[in-house]
Amino acid sequence: MVSQTASPSPAPILDVLNIEVVYNAVALVLKGVSLNVPKGGVVALLGANGAGKTTTLKAISNLLRAERGEVTKGAIVFDGERIDRLSPNDLVRRGAIQVMEGRHCFGHLTIEENLLTGAFTRRDGRAAVMRDLEAVYATFPRLKERRSTQAGYASGGEQQMCAIGRAMMSRPKLILLDEPSMGLAPTVVEEIFEIVRDLNAREGVSFLLAEQNANIALRYASFGYILETGRVVLDGAAEALRSNEDVREFYLGVAQSGRRSFKRVKTYKRRKRWLA
């Protein structure tokens, strides 16, 4: 059902194979999602509210179990190993870390302490951690200025930077970035995505980013998947998606033929429901 031939690259760092996710043992939220992220790639996961983007990311990072969700079918392979039964702690140690939606900085810890918690799983000594802390400060000069502020008092953009910086402190190979643009001013969103691109190019970190803002996500990602009600309904190179008529209509908000009434859009949408 998904065109495997269009897969981004032959050597994926992350391979999600047809997973199903059930919450509370009854609610089927993902109905067979497959996707992969190539080594060093930036892949976008797009879709409306409730499409299953966050669930997909949490299934990969194994944060699902803390919310009584479970992967009931399929497999998740990270860096050549199956990871669906690992604890988040093990997974971070292996190099996959999630930056959660809504940033989730530790409000009562200072920015610097927040960054240091990211190095919790590391065993390579204080010196190496401090070197990486300086590297993070080099990437986010603003965090250095605010290093002794409690994170709860930092601005939204600073908190997002703090959350990404905290993830970088674990020396990840893959960052699962959930809704980085949420609640941020457009210029700050641009800044965050520039940093993602920069980290990807400089440090070789792969990104899987879930976004509602398809417009910006498809500008920075090389490949995209579109989720709708727990299924991948469309995938392809970012370029191809951006020129796809349906994506333009529903996700980029650029209709082809001028203004149309909402009523007509709705019936059109019902008729065109992909693969449903």
Partner: protein, 318 residues
């Protein structure tokens, strides 16, 4: 008029009249307060890291003291018994994490709270089964805790300080300072505070909640042991001692459930307040107000400052 005079003037005249008695009362209150603070500290540690209000804290104190004394009774040298007791507290922490906390992850707080009732009854039963139900006396001498007292001469008379009380205050001080350092400066301490702030986020950066819980319950167990030793030395080691732990509740209300400094200051206020109240105002009501004054103070706090003196302000950006 007479009543007002008896409430507002006479006690203070008495305090000024005999400063040695005042100093003695404050000192006794201070020592009691330090011990309340230690018990409250155990509550705060666990509440911060696992969001559980640990009803079993009082019984953990008794159980630790009982284990120590009981082992010694069975012929184990005091120092070995102390180390073994610490080991038992560690095993208890691991057991609670495995059998109680882990299976109840994501359950409502009230369920975890009820589970700590279960722990309480389990520990009472286990303690009685292994060491018997008779009150025992603390092995102060064997632990090299000083006995006797020293007299301190102050203008207007003298104050008698029990050496044991001085030791209690010193140990409490060292423990609190040690914990504060541990929390602020170490990797694990940082992780503990992170967990207290946001469980989910802590999980997402790879902090193992299970490991943190074991550490926290173990720390609370060691604090309980220290408290148990000194309370046990002042009275007897028996399960009746757990009512002392109830005094930690007003301390917590005063200091705030989440604040370590709050537990300490709250403990001191309650300890000193109830001693002063008993000594100077108690006779007005026929004495015995010590047992409930703390709750009245706490009630006043609940009315006017429900988050406590040092309760964490919820940081909310607008």
């Amino acid at each position: 008029m007479d009543l007002l005079r008896a409430i507002f003037i006479d006690p203070f005249a008495q305090m000024i009249g005999s400063p040695d008695l005042l100093a003695q009362t404050i000192w006794e209150g201070f020592v009691g307060g330090v011990l309340y603070a230690l018990i409250a500290l155990g509550f705060v540690l666990i509440f911060k890291a696992s969001g559980v209000f640990n009803f079993a804290q009082g019984i953990m104190m008794v159980f630790a003291a009982l284990t120590l004394v009981g082992l010694h009774e069975k012929g184990v040298p005091a120092w070995v018994a102390l180390i073994l007791t610490i080991a038992v507290m560690y095993a208890l922490a691991v057991g609670i994490e495995r059998l109680v906390l882990r299976p109840l992850v994501n359950q409502p707080d009230i369920i975890l709270f009820m589970a700590t009732f279960g722990i309480t009854y389990f520990l009472i039963g286990l303690g009685e089964l292994v060491f018997g139900g008779n009150p025992k006396s603390m092995i102060t001498k064997e632990l090299f805790l000083p006995g006797g007292s020293i007299d301190l001469h102050i203008p207007g008379g003298r104050v008698q300080l029990q050496k044991l009380d001085i030791a209690a205050a010193a140990v409490a001080l060292i423990m609190v300072a040690g914990l504060a350092l541990f929390f602020q400066k170490t990797r694990i301490g940082r992780a503990l505070r992170a967990v207290a702030d946001d469980h989910q986020a802590a999980l997402s950066v790879g902090i193992s909640l299970n490991q943190i819980w074991v550490i926290v319950w173990f720390t609370a167990g060691v604090v309980a042991l220290a408290t148990g030793i000194f309370w046990g030395a002042r009275s007897d080691v028996s399960f009746a001692l757990q009512v002392v732990a109830l005094k930690a509740l007003p301390v917590l209300i005063l200091g705030g459930l989440t604040s370590v400094p709050g537990a300490i200051v709250g403990g001191l206020i309650i300890g000193i307040g109830e001693k002063l109240g008993e000594f100077y105002w108690g006779p007005l009501l026929g004495g015995g107000i010590e047992s409930w004054l703390a709750y009245i103070i706490a009630l006043a706090f609940l009315l006017f400052r429900p988050q406590g003196l040092f309760g964490e302000k919820i940081i909310e950006r607008i």
